[in-house]
Amino acid sequence: MSAITRAEVDHLAALARIAMSDDELDQLAGELDVIVGSVAKVSEVATDEIPATSHPLPMTNVFREDVVETPLTASEALSGAPAAEDGKFLVPQILGDEQ
């Protein structure tokens, strides 16, 4: 049923924000094709009249009292950060030069 091209895998890698080598892209194209081809079986039984189930138990929204709690301190929140400065996360440039 499926035929996932290498170009599609390249596009998926970009969507998933994963840098991949050419070898990885080649290998994944074959593997994803086999897996997707196999799991495509679900469409055989998934007819229009069957409702979808997203979750094993009925879900309801959960509220709690608006009570002040002690959150993590800034230093605790930053403790696992790859880089921090002045009590904030230090991240690479997000906007391009033109922005």
Binding site: E31, I35, A52, P56, I94
Partner: protein
């Protein structure tokens, strides 16, 4: 002092309560055992000796002062490395979290600490719980204590191996598609996937949120019940946590009786693809339960034939979303691109490219594909409909029977490396466990004996949602009958490991 590492948690608890041993002695004995055998088994990614001994000493002091303590106080435990532990490194088996030390505890860890269980350390696992063999850990595989050339199951192979190798009497696992039950089966231990929502997921590093469930890994059915009651119950920090209280699990394990119970043998989970030796042990166990008064009924759940396919669309879809948080910005590793501008987007791609292993990349890509425009209805939407069909099959089956039974895994432990190059073959290992995760029902695996290759096979019991007590009621009876045949626990027959 006898070798306390060979005792069950319930036996240890009794000895501790009587003052025959101290928690410091028990904890030190397990740390010594880990030092001796873990170089070969590699069940642990991190051993927290100082902290475990400090907890043990504290419990001993409180006991000496006459304080009322939890039944398991002082019994040491190992925790799968996908569960966050304050001040103890947590990696989920991934390089992308190498060296990360969480600033908070998962709810179940809070409950372990409050009850005074010394945490021996964190156990090895397939990266982000993705795998059936623990070979996808970024830190090297765990080995099966029954045969060190074989896998210990996955993703919780570290927890199962730690329990089976007498490194820990108790362990915590997580089960998204069978990662507690399948490792238990192939290592001769007991593993329980509680009803979805029965044990808080707060502080579990999520793979697939609608499927993940933490639970006990132990050497006896009673030990699982004791641990399950301790870690389970409502948690306001988890919006999917069941508000009702747990049924009485320990009482069910102590007072098990199958007379008059109806046990449904699922025809879809015991046919082609199941090794003859695994099937034979299953049939023998079934005959014992029938002799004990249970009625055996054949049950058909036709949609189970599609469970594996639905799972391998739903699980990667949820994983691709959940693992988006590993982006090199707020925690964990950060990798800069080899060339070109250092922008956030390029750093994310470089970090995820370097930090994730092959199985994680495979599943994120699969999920991204299944959720992408144009394919969503055909794949993800269809899989969610199959989930409805599976729930209906379970509901219809539980109208007729009290529990469903099957072999836990189609085979015994396979050789390390045997299925690494064939993802579909690897995925098939969870064919009997996955339906329970899709429907949210509870399941237990306990040893059914040794297959024709001399390796353990597992017996799976599935119950209706929120009726976890039935697993313990049936499981404890079967365990008692089988141990009468074996002359003791199956693990007593495991090879003696070479001590380093």
């Amino acid at each position: 002092m006898s070798d306390v590492t060979r005792l069950s948690a319930a036996e240890l608890a009794e000895q501790l309560g009587r003052g025959d041993v101290t928690s410091v002695e028990v904890t030190q004995a397990h740390l010594d055992r880990i030092a001796a055998v873990d170089p070969a088994i590699h069940a642990f990614l991190h051993v927290s000796s100082d902290e475990a001994l400090a907890t043990a000493a504290d419990v001993d002091a409180r006991r000496a002062a006459g304080e009322p303590l939890h039944a398991l106080a002082g019994v040491p435990i190992a925790v799968k490395d996908v569960v966050v532990t304050k001040d103890i490194p947590t990696t989920a088996g991934s390089k992308i979290l190498d060296g990360w030390i969480p600033p908070y505890d998962a709810t179940l860890v809070t409950r372990l600490r409050q009850a005074g269980l010394p945490i021996l350390g964190k156990t090895n696992m397939d990266e982000f719980a993705m795998g059936s063999s623990t070979e996808h850990s970024a830190y090297g595989p765990t080995r099966n204590p029954w045969d060190e050339t074989r896998i210990p199951g996955g993703s919780g192979g570290g927890s199962a191996a730690a329990v089976a190798a007498f490194e820990a009497p108790l362990a915590i696992g997580t089960d998204t598609g069978g990662s507690i039950r399948q490792p238990a089966a192939v290592t001769g231990s007991v593993g329980v996937k509680p009803t979805y929502g029965g044990v808080s997921r707060y502080g579990l590093i999520a793979m697939a949120s609608s499927l993940d469930q933490a639970g006990p890994v132990t050497r006896s059915v009673l030990d699982s019940a004791l641990l399950h009651e301790l870690i389970g119950g409502h948690d306001p920090r988890d919006s999917t946590s069941i508000p009702e209280s747990l049924p009485e699990l320990v009482a069910a394990a102590r007072g098990g009786d199958v007379a008059g119970m109806r046990l449904g043998v699922v025809s879809q989970l015991s046919g082609d693809g199941y090794e003859p030796g695994v099937k034979a042990r299953f049939d023998d166990a079934l005959a014992l339960l029938a002799d004990a008064g249970a009625e055996i009924v054949e049950v058909s759940c036709p949609s189970f034939d599609y469970a594996l396919d639905a799972y391998y669309l739903i699980m990667p879809s949820e994983a691709s979303s959940n693992l988006a948080r590993f982006d090199g910005m707020r925690f964990g590793a950060r990798t800069l691109p080899d060339e070109g501008p250092v922008t956030a987007e390029r750093v994310m791609a470089a970090t995820r490219g370097a930090g994730f292993g092959p199985e994680v990349k495979r599943r994120i890509m699969l999920g991204t594909y299944a959720l992408s425009a144009g394919y969503y209805d055909a794949y993800y939407g269809s899989a969610q409909k199959v989930r409805t069909l599976i729930q209906r099959d379970f509901a219809a089956a539980f109208d007729k029977v009290d529990v469903l039974v099957s072999p836990t895994s189609p085979t015994t432990a396979f050789e390390l490396g045997a299925k690494l190059d064939d993802p579909m073959a690897m995925y098939l290992n969870d064919v009997a466990t996955i339906p329970a995760n899709l429907a949210g029902v509870p399941g237990i695996s306990l040893p059914s004996g040794l297959s024709s290759d001399g390796l353990p096979a597992g017996f799976q019991i599935l119950g209706p949602a929120k009726a976890d007590d039935r697993l313990y009621r049936v499981g404890s009876v079967l365990e008692r009958l089988l141990e009468q045949q074996w002359g003791g626990p199956l693990l007593a027959q495991a090879p003696t490991l070479e001590v380093a």
